[in-house]
Symmetry: C2
Subunit: 312 residues, 2 copies
């Protein structure tokens, strides 16, 4: 089975053609800084048509189009329910009609992080497991959940997909979600510079003046022994461990899949999270396996087929 897959997660967009658990071809979608979803839709059509033409396919060869968005969405109706900072016009866009009109294809919509979890379960690190939490460490922190083989969605479609927004430090920073001290507000790409700016002794670090600081710089300086970089890195690792524990206590998974942009430093991150869980999680049944995501940036695209064939 083939399908069109669109991932508008995070800061970039990608359109792909997938066949089962393989990505046959993909194209970037120009979403650069787009606040408006409507402005991106013609770009998606352009990329889709280009891809199909390259492969001598037509839309008719596809079972549908599946799209992931960094938003709370109702997969059952294909509507966007809530966004933060991006695609704020999305609630008013009828994507199902758009897809039918432009491509004559059926349409499915899901939160981008949930789609990535579907991808990892379908043909990635979580293949063969029924109870999975995926944590995505990047600009934000994603945390999504599959229980007994089904995505956890809940009453208003926001169960099991706000894993970065469980507070870990109630005396901490304001989060973009409205809460205080979420894991994302303490140790994600957007909050790291805020943490670093206030860090005591920063002036003595090689990181001084690197503003906005990113994780690559942080882990690089820590690997070279910079004391302040080590302190900040260790705090991030601890917070990711705590966030993982919170998700384990909340959802009771067999495995925890960790992905996201920060995973270029997987050698430091995975053992730290595994150690935190082994030492602190209440799992008398055994140990949660911490595994690296396998599909990288393609995970959400590879969630297209399981999303399109899901029986709601």
């Amino acid at each position: 089975m083939k399908a069109l897959a669109v991932d508008l997660g995070g800061s970039h967009g990608t359109c792909g053609v997938v066949e089962d658990s393989r990505l046959l071809a993909h194209e970037p979608v120009d979403a650069n800084g787009a606040k408006s979803l409507r402005a991106v839709l013609p770009e998606i059509i352009k990329s889709s048509r280009k891809l199909l033409a390259q492969m001598n396919l037509t839309a008719d060869d596809c079972a549908g189009l599946a799209m992931g968005l960094p938003a709370i969405v109702d997969a059952r109706t294909g509507r966007v329910l809530s966004t933060r900072t991006k695609y704020e016009d999305a609630n008013d866009v009828d994507l199902t009609s758009w897809c039918r009109t432009e491509l004559n294809l059926s349409f499915r919509l899901e939160n981008d992080a949930r789609m990535a979890l579907l991808g990892e379960c379908y043909g990635g690190a979580a293949a063969g497991f029924s109870d999975v939490v995926m944590m995505t460490l990047g600009t934000g922190i994603g945390g999504t959940t599959m229980i007994e083989g089904k995505l956890l969605r809940g009453k208003h479609s926001q169960a099991g997909c706000l894993g970065g927004h469980l507070p870990v430090l109630f005396t901490g920073r304001a989060c973009i979600c409205g809460a205080i001290g979420c894991a994302e507000a303490e140790a994600a790409g957007w909050s790291l510079p805020l943490v670093a700016r206030e860090w005591e002794g920063m002036a003595s670090s090689v990181l001084a003046g690197r503003d906005p600081l990113n994780f690559q710089q942080l882990f690089g300086a820590a690997d070279e022994g910079d004391a302040i970089a080590c302190e900040i890195r260790d705090r991030c690792l601890e917070i990711w461990g705590v966030a993982a524990l919170s998700l384990v206590h909340a959802y009771d998974p067999e495995i925890l899949v960790v992905g996201g942009g920060v995973m270029q430093s997987a050698h430091a991150i995975l053992p730290a999270i595994q150690k935190y869980l082994d030492e602190h999680a209440w799992t008398d049944w055994g140990k949660v396996q911490v595994k690296a995501a396998k599909l990288g940036n393609n995970a959400a695209l590879l969630g297209a087929i399981p999303l399109l064939i899901e029986n709601f």
Copy 2:
């Protein structure tokens, strides 16, 4: 439909006869300080027989016996999986056989807090709702979850029932569960004295020397304007708000039912939790209703019928 119901939650035990959502009669079960479940089983039989005799019933008039325990249990098999500090022999007890042998009744087992949620859904504060979180504030903090009308149980039966064990302060106190800074380790009956002992300025408070401090004393002194009591009370209220937010973000309920021993101060607690959620929870769909539990200490007993008739 009638049933026998047993609640061994927290520090006391009760045995009751229920009919649908009514508690017809009940008896205390002598579980005073019992570390051993085996030692309590004869007491349960004694109380059950006494109750049945009083009502001119026999065990045959009951559809079964449902028991709630403060432990992680597998309701599907009737086995205890994990305990902390109480009933540590419970993993080895075959309760299904015990119930069949002693009373010739079918048996169902559930975590006591999950049973209380079932009770509140069946005939209490959550009647008519399908997506509910119940938070129980007492010696410990319970947090249990119903999604789409079904208890959330997960792979190892511990999803949706460790709501007091989501960390809210990762730099905080060690919890009895093994984690650090759980809501329960920061603001529950057992941890309150630890918090109070270290509180700056405690010597100037009317609470000085009240050790172990309990919530009734704390709320009483705060109501009388003691400054230190107000500080500690406000921190507890904030932590319960954060814990509630974590549960809302994790499970996406329509309503949050709050119960437990501390609810004699419901006038202070419910508005504080509601305000915290209204100000900080990411619920663009509307507002989570915070409601007081209705069934008090009878909630778990009244979960017996829905547990016995549940289709696993």
